[in-house]
Symmetry: C2
Subunit: 417 residues, 2 copies
């Protein structure tokens, strides 16, 4: 074992925040405290961007108690705090083969803080960052172990069964869908409610809206994912069929649904409109469909965009997701100190009826810049609902409710100084 | 005591649903089971509209166990179910002085089911319904006791300290604001996020967004209520001032904010725009401000409409609100069987630092068709925030978290057959 392996660690968060990204951070911090190879763990403020400016938080100090041991109460608070507690960034690193000056500077900074372990929590772009740094490390004599830790509510990373953050978003969406459907059912007048759900390219989040129907018998009448070309004629026919059975129709649509010619359904809404101040209005998919249905059916129509709460409603997180997120972060540290580098931690689901997972390190080259869509057999033939197989896949991920700490009526979050 | 006082009761729900309106219904059901003057309690399906069509649910049967006692487990499930479990309607009753045929028919129906106690849960219009029926009862020889039970997330009813339903909506808004502000704080690029909150005429819900700042130090930078005329110049100046301190600005606006000339800020957004299907788009207040800020500042701007979850997010209800809602319903029954009629149950807050309330019957004439706005001294001088007095008023109403029953990862609701 190389003596250099004893040193400091640094962890960063990157890309869009989720309800569970701090649980992953908590796992990394826990792993660092437990490892005898890591002296100190730093947090990068605003990801790699902040690291380059040497904006670092001393997490060993902030999460240590008087005796220098991990303060588990603080760590637990962090687990339940939404959005990246270290701040985030969207910075694409240059090519390590040609832009060597950039990486030389980076290595100097690693040396300055004696960073021997590098953890980066994020989505596709973040895995690209880890891959590039790992690539450069091969060409220089600085010994450091770099591991990517996945997160994204979109669940669109390859080489992992699912991504930390998705389960909590799915649970919030299913919970909210059940509530919205109950709300919309109180009147007897015909009405259509269109709920727009995040997911530009992959329909995983929209698919999870269907859980409300399968679990509670109170969910959307139809779900439309971006994986299937959208036809307005079929959409109208679906609504017409549903209206024969009951007055209140609720529909879940992905923000990313597209016509057969590739145009986004929400695209056209982005021009022509002028508001009170004379400005153009940029609408979305739900808004576009709201207008279309209003004109076709002449009934009451409403669109609801679930928006930011999908990725930050930590008060409605999935316990399974939070626990797996912590484990993913913890595994990253364990793998790194055992000498693994240039990998991403992947969640592997065991075969069989009982849900169980393990955490493995996988090559980054399998992952970076690829998108995992909802497979066609997870969507029904008509393209307006998901199949039982899809439900079976998502269901275990939303199980369990975390016990939150409240103060004065609001959840308590942990703020990293 | 008149022998006629022994008989059946009927309860209905009317107007927009809330997260707590079923808790009030649960209180009425509990009161009916406990009273020796009430034999059977019926539920009107879709309020008075369904009653006229004799669409009734036998709640004594549905909430009774094998021995005919109240099944408290079912009742508890109902307390945590959002939206009107009996269905709702928006039906304004005719003038009882002139349209006597309508009321004669109504009385015949009461007689048919031997209804001696009439409970109607709702907002302003529902209190109007109770007032009219009470008025007509004075002119005929049918003995029945009619009580209105308030609910509205808007908190705009007079003659009550606050309305059941408001506390849960306020808690959801404050909880979500804290989460959104954390989410928006992760990047360093200048960005403005505008959160549109319900409340066409009264700003109580928007005011509660400020709780996130006062309780958790993580709330909107400004809140704009409909009680103060909106100035786009002052709004821009406010944003400019905030941007000098930090890059991420989050603003809470009421959907009902108006310019000094009375025009709604969201009004103009409702014309001119055409979407992918060639239809006009109807935008809102948040959308209008999003465009205005984008043009003025050229930075990233986003608008988020909290929309339906404000009134149906039962998974994030206030325990205080639910308990008070049950008590309001229970009090309604106790007052009615003691001979009170033509009244609304009011929540009275005791003087003093310690929060405590009592429930009283108040004359409906004080209430119907009046709106209670946020008083000017609850809003700061600049009209862009609320005062400490306003926070002190709302804070007790969001306290406590209900223990929900979950099944398969989703909250369990009670469905009335």
């Amino acid at each position: 074992m190389n003596k250099n392996q004893f040193g400091n660690a640094v962890v960063g968060q990157s890309g869009g925040p989720t309800s569970a990204i701090n649980a992953t951070l908590a796992g990394v911090i826990k792993g660092a405290f437990e490892s005898d190879k890591i002296e100190k763990i730093y947090g990068m403020r605003n990801g790699i961007e902040g690291f380059l400016e040497e904006r670092l938080a001393d997490l060993t100090e902030q999460f240590g108690d008087a005796a220098g041991n991990l303060d588990t109460e603080k760590l637990d608070m962090l687990v339940h705090t939404p959005a990246a507690a270290l701040g985030s960034c969207r910075r694409k690193l240059p090519d390590p083969h040609t832009e060597t000056a950039f990486y030389e500077n980076l290595i100097e900074l690693f040396k300055k803080y004696n960073i021997r372990y590098f953890f980066y929590i994020g989505g596709n772009d973040s895995m690209d960052t880890v891959a590039k740094i790992s690539e450069y490390l091969k060409t220089c004599d600085y010994e450091m172990y770099a591991i990517g830790v996945p997160k994204t509510i979109d669940n669109d990373l390859t080489a992992t069964d699912h991504t930390p953050g998705f389960g909590s978003a799915a649970k919030f969406i299913a919970t909210t869908m059940q509530e919205i459907v109950r709300d919309c059912a109180v009147y007897t007048v015909p009405a259509v409610t269109i709920v727009e759900i995040m997911g530009r390219d992959a329909g995983w989040l929209t698919a999870s809206a269907a859980l409300a129907d399968r679990i509670a018998g109170c969910g959307p009448d139809y779900v439309y994912l971006p994986e299937v070309p959208f036809s307005i004629e079929n959409f109208f026919a679906d609504i017409r069929a549903a209206m024969k059975k009951k007055p209140n129709i609720v529909i879940a649509v992905s923000e990313g649904i597209r016509f057969a010619d590739g145009r986004y359904v929400g695209e056209g809404t982005q021009s022509g409109s002028v508001d009170a101040f004379g400005h153009k209005y940029l609408g979305g998919t739900g808004a576009a469909l709201e207008m279309a249905v209003k004109e076709e059916f002449g009934c009451k129509v409403r669109s609801v965009e679930l928006n930011l709460p999908q990725r930050c409603a930590a008060h409605c997180a999935s316990l399974t997701d939070l626990e797996e997120s912590v484990s993913t972060g913890l595994t990253a540290v364990n793998k790194a100190v055992s000498g693994i580098s240039g990998s991403m931690i992947s969640i592997v689901r065991a075969e069989g009826a009982e849900y169980s997972v393990s955490f493995e390190a996988k090559s980054l080259s399998d992952i970076a810049n690829k998108v995992r869509s909802v497979p066609r057999h997870y969507i029904n033939e008509s393209g307006n609902d998901v199949t039982a197989e899809c439900i079976d896949y998502i269901l275990p991920l939303i199980q369990g409710e975390p016990v939150l700490q409240y103060k004065n009526g609001l959840p308590v979050h942990f703020v990293i100084r």
